[in-house]
Amino acid sequence: MSDVLSMPARKPLLEVRNLVTEFPLRTGVFRAVNDLSFSIEAGKTLCVVGESGSGKSVTARSILQIVDAPGQIASGSIMLNTADGVSIDLAKLHPRSKAIRAVRGRDIAMIFQEPMSSLSPVHTVGDQITEAIRLHMKMTKDEARAEAINLLRQVEIPNPELAIDRYAFQYSGGMRQRAMIAMALACRPKLLIADEPTTALDVTTQAEILDLIARLQKQSGMAVLFITHDMGVVAQIADDVLVMHHGVAKEYGTVEQIFHSPQDTYTKMLIGSVLKLEQKAEIRLARPPLDQTAPPILEVRNLSQQFGTVKALDNVSISLLPGETLGIVGESGSGKTTMGRAIMRLYDPSAGEMLYRKADGSVVDLAKIEGEELKKARRELRMVFQDPFGSLNPRMTVAQVIGEPLLVNGIARGRELDDRVSHLMEQVGLDPRGRERYPHAFSGGQRQRIGIARAITLNPRIIVADEATSALDVSVRFQVLDLLMKLQDQLGLAYIFISHDIGVIRYMCDRVGVMYRGKIVEVGEAEKVCNAPDHPYTQALLSAIPRPDPRDRDRSRRFRYVEPAPVKNGSAGR
């Protein structure tokens, strides 16, 4: 322990200086974090913000020395200054040493992005929390259990006495993250590192978790290192902000400075892309208004979809005009994905009809047709998926992926197929020379372009895009959204655009349907629904979205929608 020095008081809690974390590769060394310096004061929140591959997660893991193999800290120092005047350089400790293990969980605790997979599936939540307590504190099993129940109560888990013996998969997403927080707080750490803790959660749940962290932080005076890609969240919670890009710090300053007088071009771009989502796209504003009197290309009437006892869609009616973008917005479990898949007739609906007007003016009911007729209709309705990695076959070249619909339907082959694939790739802004390469050679945004090219291969008339830009970084998201709108105008497409992100919907859509528990609670002009909605659920949804302005931090505005209980036989329900 030669690194233990006595330091004068009033040092920042954590001081990172010239940190370099490297991953040795076959072809050399990849520097995930390059010469990074920052510090965190006790009781304050530092947000590290950046897009995927910026090294923000590796930075967080470097502090606890839990970087995934073969990554390791190459140089720099990470000084932890505790209140009793002891300073430890965490960077000098061996990742398996007792000294670093004593810091983990006790002085510095961490929570992660995926609360489901971050908790063991075969141990009870209580087991995992008491383990953390007994690891660093001298407590008997019973004391630790009582303490764990206490912690669960602190993070507002209902019935903590029962919940402690449940498993993670019996919790909802928000509850899992609360349990993670309870576990992290078990030994009252001085620093909480939160690695994208709300990214996998709905906005209303996100807002509640952020509130919870803020409240606990105030109570205990702990510092928070918050890693996120969401500028809205940063604006709401940060004291200081560190902007990272490709492992390098682009800008480091107070939240006020970063949002209202950013110096770096990358920071400006990040903030610009968030502000862009506050209004409609320029392409859309420049477009002549749609013909509202045209007969709808698709009319969904009283559609219901039952899975066992669950009503995923409950008497849904909505229509789509030719050339229109209809947004479907809602939280997880609202039935929006089911809606998209039902329209593609990937399910057999339980009730209702989906009237599709073909190019020649005749109308077919997508809910009823079978065989050849359905095949034909499916050529005109295509889908773009959320996951640009999982939705492309890794063993097919890009040319095969894009050309497959043409080949399967016997439309083109040989040289003609090749020409059409090249043309499609140009249309979506990809270099056709890359057509013999495999999907892994492309970035997330490029892959999503491949997915779009595949969708427009058969000259469809309707495209269902299910969270098509959710997995993309903000800077790429706009390129893909703009591409979709450009293609819409060129090819006269109608879009059903499913998303949980009101910003994206506002930017892109003409009209919006808001879904809640399988029902459409509100339909209207995008402008109106996204800015001044009528239904209380939509209002609650909007209130939970973190505003990308640190000067606008009013948490009291936020509220959660509670469905009015149905009145039974004159007596009020629970």
Binding site: V103, A109, P121, H136
Partner: protein, 328 residues
């Protein structure tokens, strides 16, 4: 849970009937019957059996009855009085022949299972944690060696080495003086001094594949976020490995119990013959070749019952250790 077990037990009854019937039919399928084989054997040693004797034999064994009647009689015997019929070849009740052999087979099977797990699981974990280290490569080389060497060859080599170099008494599970002796402490000790050889041989080949499976399972689990969570708590690497990823990587092994029992019986035929083991496998083979159908049928029925019980045990164990199965 109890309801589930009860239901599974009830389902075992029709399954056993179906399999026993199928086994019965299959044993009868080759042309001829036991008497034909018997006559052929006698003819080989220049003894001639006249037609009358053959007919008498057939009548006595009930071989002229239709298949269904024969099956019905056999089943009735088992169900009403636990009588598995008479072995034609040994001229003894089947039940007297099989129980001891089945018991020894089980002892051997369980001993090799334990040996296999004791060797393979730690090595598999080590190989996964120290991926691409010298140790990993060494164990990988050993696994492929174990996989590719046929077990009967290993049996021959080990027998030779043990007998010639160390003068050990190899072959069989007992020394001569204990073979027919009743069970006693001394006989148990004798069994222990013999059983290590077949256990080693049977364990080597299954150890090899098990190491690979355990390594792959662990490699799947190690990069999971819950492992990082546990590390971030400050758990030591050893406690972390044993409590989290190993626990989950073991689940697939529990499901293998189901086919382990029949595998050890039918899979060890060659080894059992080479080592002259008094287990079920050689007797079953002999019975099948001689079309000694009651004896063979009884074995098949028992193996089938073991498989069903094995899969029930593995399902119950799996539900006990994995709450996702128990509660969802």
């Amino acid at each position: 849970m109890l309801k589930f077990i009860g239901k599974r037990l009830l389902w075992m009854i029709p399954s056993l009937f179906a399999v026993s019937f199928l086994a019965f039919v299959l044993i009868q399928l080759p042309p001829g019957d036991y008497v034909t084989t018997y006559i052929a054997t006698l003819a080989a040693s220049n003894e001639v059996v006249d037609q009358n004797t053959a007919t008498q034999l057939r009548e006595r064994f009930g071989l002229d009855d239709p298949l269904l009647v024969q099956y019905g009689k056999w089943m009735w015997g088992i169900l009403s009085s636990g009588d598995f019929g008479i072995s034609f070849e040994w001229q003894q009740p089947v039940s007297g022949l099989i129980w001891e052999r089945m018991a020894l087979t089980l002892v051997l099977a369980i001993a090799s299972l334990l040996a296999t797990w004791a060797i393979a699981l730690p090595i598999g974990v080590y190989s996964a944690v120290k991926k691409y280290s010298i140790g990993d490569y060494a164990f990988t080389a050993f696994s492929f060696f174990g996989l590719s060497v046929p077990s009967f060859l290993l049996a021959l080599v080990l027998m030779y080495v043990a007998a010639v170099e160390f003068g050990a008494d190899v072959g069989g599970l007992f020394s001569q003086e204990y073979e027919t002796a009743p069970w006693s402490i001394a006989k148990m000790v004798d069994l222990m001094t013999h059983i290590w050889l077949p256990v080693t041989i049977l364990a080597v080949s299954s150890t090899a594949s098990l190491i690979r499976v355990m390594r792959a399972n662990m490699l799947d689990e190690l990069p999971k976020p819950y492992v990082t969570t546990a590390r971030a708590k400050g758990l030591s690497e050893f406690r972390l490995l044993t409590k989290y990823p190993m626990r989950i990587a073991l689940n697939p092994f529990i499901s293998t119990i189901a086919w382990l029992l029949p595998n050890l019986i039918s899979g060890s035929v060659v080894v059992a013959i080479v080592l002259n083991l008094p287990t079920a496998a050689p007797l079953l083979l002999q019975a099948l070749m001689a079309q000694d159908m009651y004896l063979a049928g009884a074995f098949v029925l028992l193996i089938c019952a073991l498989t069903l019980i094995g899969s029930l045990i593995s399902d119950i164990l799996l539900a006990m250790v994995d709450p996702r199965i128990r509660l969802e």
